[in-house]
């Protein structure tokens, strides 16, 4: 394949002289080369156009509008420089959402990771009905955030079924205002997040486990290693790439969290209940209040935070996985 490059160089070198050149192969190679370029443009062009216009361009657009005080109509003229960014960085509500996002990010990893690993190890044994188990634990992941939010919202409200169950089993003293008490609400959110996304982690880890060759376990067993020695020295290291990709997806997801919070707590209650996130802050202070310049600036801040974290993670953690999907392009 790479041998197609030199001919193209010759073609480019002889570009100006080609009219005078009577040699037959050159125009044909040139034609083949143009044909290849045309095919590339024809095949990849539409995807690139759609991707750039609706993914890359909006981010650039946000960078532009972030410098304006703009209500979203007509051209943006009220240039305010970095004022929006200063307001964001000084807004105590934004400090709150940063804290919440950080809390959710760390706790998602700490809660879901270990539990999912243990469950995956458990389900990786040859037990009956493993495929139906796999389907069932994936159900919460496949249901939309809206349904999860409405269902859990109803269950956790003060007159909801969680308090009802506590009452009926004699634990009425443990009844709580799960959603609006600021000291509890974010833990309720963590329960819902764990419930929704842990199945995904388990499925990923199971697939990772199944790609580890059985011979390794057999050899270790012959050498007299105990079950936990085997897990610690063989399974966990070999599961490393899967764990690192999962952690990456989880981190990005935590930074973007919106739907669940917005549906359960709405845009105003979320901040008093202590569950607001960067994304709900962006929507409440951007679109809902009509300050599109400010909302764009929040989007840029979110983008930069995600980008920096993603790059650091890729640089220091994912780079260890030479075959990682995300790092392939940079090899």
């Amino acid at each position: 394949m790479t041998d197609q490059r030199p001919p193209r160089d010759t073609v480019e070198a002889g570009d100006g002289a080609h009219a005078a050149s009577p040699a037959a192969p050159r125009p044909r190679r040139r034609a083949a080369d143009w044909r290849k370029r045309l095919e590339i443009i024809l095949l990849a062009g539409p995807a690139i156009v759609v991707f750039v216009s609706f993914v890359i361009f909006p981010v650039v657009l946000a960078g532009y509008y972030g410098f304006f005080r703009w209500k979203g109509f007509g051209p943006a003229t009220d240039f305010v420089g970095f004022e929006n960014y200063l307001i964001i960085l000084q807004d105590s509500a934004f400090h709150d959402v940063l804290r919440h996002n950080g809390f959710i990010l760390v706790l998602s990893l700490v809660i879901q990771g270990p539990i999912a690993i243990v469950l995956a190890l458990l389900l990786n044994q040859k037990i009956r009905g493993r495929s139906i188990i796999r389907v069932l634990i994936f159900v919460p992941y496949i249901i939309s955030e809206v349904i999860v939010g409405i269902g859990w919202g109803l269950m956790l409200q003060t007159s909801g079924s969680v308090n009802g169950v506590l009452e009926s089993i004699g634990l009425g003293a443990f009844q709580k205002d799960w959603l609006s008490d600021p000291s509890i609400a974010i833990w309720s959110l963590m329960v819902i997040i764990s419930w929704k996304y842990i199945g995904f982690a388990v499925i990923l880890f199971l697939a990772g486990l199944q790609s580890i060759p059985d011979e390794l376990f057999e050899a270790a067993a012959i050498d007299g290693a105990s079950y936990w020695q085997i897990q610690r020295t063989i399974t966990l290291p070999l599961l490393g790439p899967t764990l690192r990709i999962w952690a990456f997806l989880s981190i990005i997801g935590s930074l973007q969290l919106f739907d669940l919070v917005f549906i359960i707590w709405g845009q105003y209650v979320a901040s008093t209940a202590g569950t607001s996130t960067m994304a709900t802050y962006m929507v409440a202070n951007g679109r809902t209040s009509g300050n599109f310049g400010y909302g764009s600036a929040v989007a840029v801040v979110m983008f930069l935070i995600s980008l920096v974290i993603a790059l650091i993670y890729q640089r220091f953690v994912l780079s260890r996985d030479t075959a990682g999907a995300l790092t392939e392009g940079k090899k």
Partner: protein, 290 residues
Amino acid sequence: MAVLEAPPRLHKKRPPSDRQEWGSPATYFIAFVFIALCLGPVVYIILGGFRDNSQITNSPAGFPDPWNFDNYAEVLASRTFWQQVGNSAIAGLATTIGVVVLGLMASFVLARYRFAGRGAMYSLFAAGLMFPMTVAITPLYILVRELGLMNSLAGVILPQIAFGLPVTIIILVPFLKAIPDEIEEAASIDGTSRLGFFFRMVVPLSLPGVVTTGILAFVASWNSYLLPLFILGDQATYTLPLGVQAFASQYSVDTAKVLAFTSLSMIPALIFFTLFERRIVGGLTGAVKG
């Protein structure tokens, strides 16, 4: 939590060779508890739809007694529900087709052409994986409005195609790379062009990968909330997630009906998932392992 700490104690005493045998009852017990926790809220939603409001008020966590089919019947008879199902189906199908067609063409280029900028192009799409729609939603809303696509499903479909491309391409590229070069050579000896090879060989051979990415795109579109929330202001264009939420706030007193509406709206995604579970799970793990 105590339940989840059980497995260590369970395994410590068992020799490793036991892995090959049937699991112990404790394993089944823990799996059962976990599944019960996963399904509990779903069952609550579905059963709640069969109760009436006084039952729910008196005993928030009880079973239907007697079973009440009116809620489901009312939802199924309502025009709004079916209109939203229709909108969701149109958005889902159009997104799926768009993502699969554009994604397959771009993946083919990335997998089987050598050209300067190939790595950059792959990185461009892979970078998109890091930035879900949330970050871009405010400017995306402005852009869609400038294009005059507000309150139209096209305003939801186009961005969804764009944001679906990274996952699709990352799943499909290894798939297309795996098609042996010999097949392409044979096709070229038989006088088939690169494009002919694409349409006659690549498209059929990559069908399993295409199905995986198609399902992912469909389920993502079916469940998507944020973008429709911004773009679709007109009730007539609501997709199911918006409809469910609007219904829930409109009938906030009528909990049973809300639960019925909610459970009916999750059925299509659940059926879809059950049918194609293997492909979805296989596709996801394939993507993660590169």
